[in-house]
Amino acid sequence: MVTTPNAATPADIPGNSRALVRRWFGGDEIAHLITLIAAAVLLLIAVLLVYQLWVLSAEARTRFGWKFFVTETWDPVSGEFGALPFIYGTLVTSAVALFLAVPLGVGAAIFLAELAPPKLSSSLTFVSDLLAAVPSVIYGLLGVFLLVPVMRTSVQPALKKTLGFLPLFKGPSYGIGFLTAGIVLAIMIVPFVLSVSREVLLAIPRDQREAALALGATKWESTWKVVVPAARIGIFGSVFLALARALGETMAVTMVIGNNPKIAASLFSPGYSIAAVLANEFSEATGNLYLSALIELGLVLFLLTFVLNGLARLLILVTTARGSGVLPT
């Protein structure tokens, strides 16, 4: 046991001033206080962040109330602000991103956790971590100059030809739009799905796999029917984490989504997202109402990611703790 030499000093007794001086001179209390202040600064930042978003969006909140979330007009000139097109764009692009990134990320995680030798697995995971470190604006750069032309000239026409009967794939091919933004987002969030899913899969005890194999299951059957179900809560956690990333992602989306506040069923049409409208209009917003409407959008984004992140961490904690037998559940 570690015992602090001054765990119970006589300084607590009133009047024992020499001991008190010695204790302060020893510095433990001061060190404790200084580090506590640093930790408190973090809490203060979080509280202040919520407070500022809440107070500065007051004008828009009182003016529009809940109507803010269901109206489609965004007209700074006449002072009409409705968030629906942005919320829609944010959700649609994130949904496209998840649809593409989850199978890819989980599949890759299965390979890295179940099949690859440990050395290979950790170096490939490092490459995926590097992918997560690539700045968002770089993805945007490649999106604008590489993906958008490819989408316009080949992917969108091909999709129209094969799946054109769906309302999702109708309309002119601009290149920019929901689908392109979703694809860029998918590439950006795969590393998050991958690394967290891999951790979760690795936390599933070995006996589970061995038991399945001993019963005559193939490697795939043991993975898919035993290991993955055991890890599913944590994998959901990784998906929520990735979703939170996708919702708040700004630059890459701003550069390829088209920046047009319209709601359209087709994934080919240009749209807008919450983060993108903040990036484009915040520094130019004139008038308090305009600014507070934008800050209310920021508040919405904050709350969405806040809830998703909290949920994700809880789920991941539950699986890894149960899997490694650290905590009873």
């Binding site: 602090t4 930790a39 500022q52 490092f126 995926s128 992918l131 193939t218 700004t250 984004l301 806040f306």
Partner: protein, 283 residues
């Protein structure tokens, strides 16, 4: 072999290869991005790029010296604001905390880490730009500093808790009190890990664009001192890539290559540095 067995075996092979394909796709994206940037940006990198100011709008030529310096200044401020708080907070969590406060701090740090960077930008705008009534390097530094704190804090904590108990007990046995033990034994033992954490956090915010758009804003000239708007590499990439001029696009590629190079090199070096063998065994 029965038909069912053949089916199961081929399903096994098919699905397992499919997972391999998933890895291949993911990993190749990185090399593709890198290759494409080198191909597109490499030819426009010149001495001028690093030493000249941007040319007047519409004219060809010029460089990004002001953006590079601006980015460095912003990073310096971010480190100044973020690292002390993160470091000391991490020490608190690992060494001094009880039960409830560290739990709250830890959870808050994780949630703050997940807040979209553009929302941090709004916060820094409210905190610094609104009282000062104009955009500034300072505001950008605050925004990036806030983003550095949670990462440094959590990382410091995890490296400190990894320091073996025997080292602590040794220090106590020599008569050190707690802060002496932390300052002279535990922190040095974990210093390598803590340093790499700080570098990674800075590399991450070095590429952040969104929180700078309405804090540091942008500037086509040098930004003297700390209270003027400043240019920065990521914001210039964004402006140039979405701008109408061909020459801007070429410069955006070059700047993208420089930025990506900086971020990836830092990440790789840090990784090499960290795994080269540590003072103690890491699990």
């Amino acid at each position: 072999m029965s038909v069912r067995m053949i089916w199961r075996k081929s399903l096994n092979v098919a699905m397992l290869s499919l997972t391999g394909v998933c890895v291949l796709i993911t990993v190749s994206v990185l090399f593709f991005i890198l290759g494409y940037l080198v191909y597109n940006g490499g030819k426009d990198l010149s001495w001028n790029f690093f030493t000249r100011l941007p040319a007047p709008v519409g004219e060809v030529g010029g460089g990004m010296a002001n953006a590079i310096l601006g980015s460095l200044k912003l990073l310096l401020l971010a480190a100044l604001f973020g690292v002390p708080v993160g470091l000391l907070g991490g020490v608190y969590l690992a060494e001094f905390g009880g039960r409830t406060i560290p739990f709250i701090v830890r959870y808050t740090a994780d949630l703050l880490n997940g807040v979209p960077s553009i929302v941090i930008g709004i916060f820094a705008y409210a905190l610094v730009v609104m009282p000062m009534h104009h955009f500034s390097t300072l505001a950008g530094g605050v925004a990036l500093g806030i983003m550095v704190i949670p990462t440094v804090l959590r990382n410091t904590e995890s490296f400190l808790t990894d320091v073996p108990r025997s080292l602590r007990e040794g220090a106590f046995a020599m008569g050190a009190n707690k802060w002496k033990m932390v300052a002279t034994v535990v922190l040095p033992a974990a210093s390598r890990g803590i340093l790499t954490g700080v570098l990674l956090a800075l590399a991450r915010v070095a590429g952040e664009t969104a929180p700078l758009l309405f804090t540091a804003f942008g500037n086509r000239f040098w930004s003297p001192g700390w209270d003027q708007p400043t240019s920065s590499l990521p914001v210039v990439i964004y402006t140039y890539a979405t701008g109408p001029y061909e020459d801007w696009h070429r410069q955006a590629w070059a700047a993208g290559l420089v930025l990506l190079g900086m971020v990836l090199v830092t990440n790789i070096l840090v990784r090499a540095f960290l795994t080269r063998g540590t003072a103690y065994e890491r699990s």
